[in-house]
Symmetry: C2
DNA sequence: AATAGAACCGAAAGCGCTTTAATTGATAAT
DNA sequence: ATTATCAATTAAAGCGCTTTCGGTTCTATT
């Protein structure tokens, strides 16, 4: 099937390409009757503008690149949903990139992004990637960060203040004199974990108490579950804080294996809320981070950046809610 | 920062653009010393080819469109991961589209896909979308379907035979004289559910038994949980089959609320395996569908389609495994 | 009826690349 | 030394669109 071009439409309607271009873009003045003539030609031929050619002529692609760690996590999915929904409104396309750890692969990703001449890039990644960012910044790409704010506030970002969330929780528990708090720690989410630690630390300092516990676990469910089964044989805590829901589940299951009752003997709270949190028993208490909104707001900011709308602030903090369910006892 | 074009490189290296083009594409003959000269110029200027211009000149974009229902499901995430991994190998980009129910929105999606001049489209969607497909086919897009095969085998597809899986399960239970089987049914996954029903039906026919039960539930967790709590007050089944893990969890939780023991008094099996299946208690028995592979294979097929490699068969069936965990008793 | 000004439209250049056909330069054959 | 041959390179056209700059046609005014 021969692709129909703007040229064919112009022929069919007996006008020049310039005119056809004007009616498809709809901005400039075209007389009503010629507009109709052109519309009809478009309809008749089934003409659809070639976005690639438009991209070349306009020097923009109405496409933005989204970089995420892995698509399989619930949060990532929600972020993508939010992002896509507002992208749709503003008629942007999203090309998806995943980054694994290797610096080589990251470079390749960046390279591809640059080649593809997207209009901007949105990054959701728990690791600090300052170097890669600077490469992107050299090319003056509009960038929006999801989840972690940069110390360098030249980059727009949307995030939730995990530090504060952890502080609030720790504070509440210390106030109730439940001082034996542990943080589950893996190496996969260094930024998030470091924020959690900071928050808890601050609470301990203010309460003039010291020493909470770090529990380093392997980075997948199965082995961390096994590890924790052993751990609980000779350790007890009032509260265990985890980052991900899977870690909380490993904790709860391991505890139960050791006849440690959750929440009566040990409370568990995680920092991520997925739909599974209320499907499991005991239902998981957690900080509810508005993942969908993170994505949606990030994309909205991107459109502002691209259309030169004013940004009231570069760093947007979304608020969280603490959702106490069955795995913990204290309300905030 | 002024974007550096192939022209700048040509100037810098004192050759024509044609030569530069040849060295970046690496196929045609260029004398060693001029190749090096050009490479150096590229390096020095930091030149990165403009994929948009290439796309226009070559009439292909090395981009393929992926259409999914929603990104937030675990399966979808896995599919995306598989797809991206092989896309990376073959240097394709993926632009992501979600389709909600509305036909209008679907049309808009198709429209956007066509405008964007992607090289092909991969669709994962439980609803039959024959009409939209035919529109896509008019434009001769290479299409790969994930999950559901078309009666019309002109379209390539990768799928798992859910009908057979359900048949196998029903068969095993009928053989054990556990005849009281129910299928949980929602309206969100018509295709998958219809396959399940067919399989169970076939098993009943062969066993010369009749009547299994349909339990129609609302389409979200919360209300189906509430509904099932009521349902269990005056209904009992030997086996309950659900499509999604969330439905199985709703079933188990509702049963437990009514003091129905799973699996002793009622067994539960679902057709989708997510990492949560082994994190919850009782651990969920399920058909393990290789979601990651579905995505990976689909993308691989797409590359074959695009490079005119021979396809041994248009419809590729991946095999599943039954993973008995704690929510059911019979092995297959 | 003549004309200024506005409204509308077309020609052509340009976006950054690929690729074919033509040209150059070098080498081998006569 | 001259020509035929071949490898390496270039010039230029084309991919499908946007947009500036002029030109043409209307409309309104006197």
């Amino acid at each position: 099937m021969k692709r129909v071009t703007i040229y064919d439409v112009a022929n069919e309607a007996n006008v020049s390409l310039a005119t056809v271009s004007r009616v498809i873009n709809g901005l400039e003045i075209v007389r009503e009757d010629t507009r109709i003539k052109v519309q009809e030609a478009i309809e008749k031929l089934g003409y659809k503008p070639n976005a690639v050619a438009q991209g070349l002529a306009l020097q923009k692609t109405t496409t933005i690149a989204l970089v995420v760690p892995e698509a399989s996590f619930n949060v990532t999915g929600q972020i993508i949903n939010g992002l896509l929904d507002v992208a749709k409104i503003y008629k942007y396309s999203i090309v998806l990139h995943t980054t694994t750890e290797g610096i080589l692969e990251i470079n390749e990703t960046i390279e591809n992004i640059i080649k593809s001449r997207v209009d901007g890039v949105i990054i959701y990644n728990d690791k600090l990637l300052y170097d890669e960012l600077s490469e992107l910044k050299r090319y003056q790409y509009p960038i929006v960060l999801i989840g972690n704010k940069m110390s360098d506030d030249s980059i727009a970002s949307v995030f939730v203040d995990i530090e504060k969330a952890s502080y609030d929780i720790a504070r509440a528990y210390l106030d109730a004199n439940k001082n034996n708090i542990a943080i589950i720690e893996d190496r996969k989410n260094p930024f998030a974990i470091s924020q959690m630690v900071k928050g808890v630390e601050r609470a301990f300092e203010e309460a003039n108490k010291n020493s909470f516990t770090f529990v380093k676990i392997p980075s997948n469910y199965r082995s961390s579950y096994e590890f924790l089964k052993g751990y609980f044989k000779d350790h007890r805590h009032d509260l265990i804080l985890t980052h991900r829901d899977s870690q909380a589940l490993a904790t709860i299951n391991a505890a139960s294996e050791n006849n440690v009752l959750v929440p009566q003997e040990c409370e568990v709270i995680c920092m991520i809320d997925t739909k599974y949190n209320s499907m499991v028993r005991p239902q998981l208490s957690s900080i509810v981070i508005p993942s969908y909104d993170l994505g949606a707001v990030a994309m909205r900011i991107m459109t502002k950046l691209l259309h030169n709308e004013a940004l009231s602030e570069k760093e947007i903090e979304l608020s969280y809610v603490f959702n106490r369910r069955q795995s913990s006892l204290i309300n905030l």
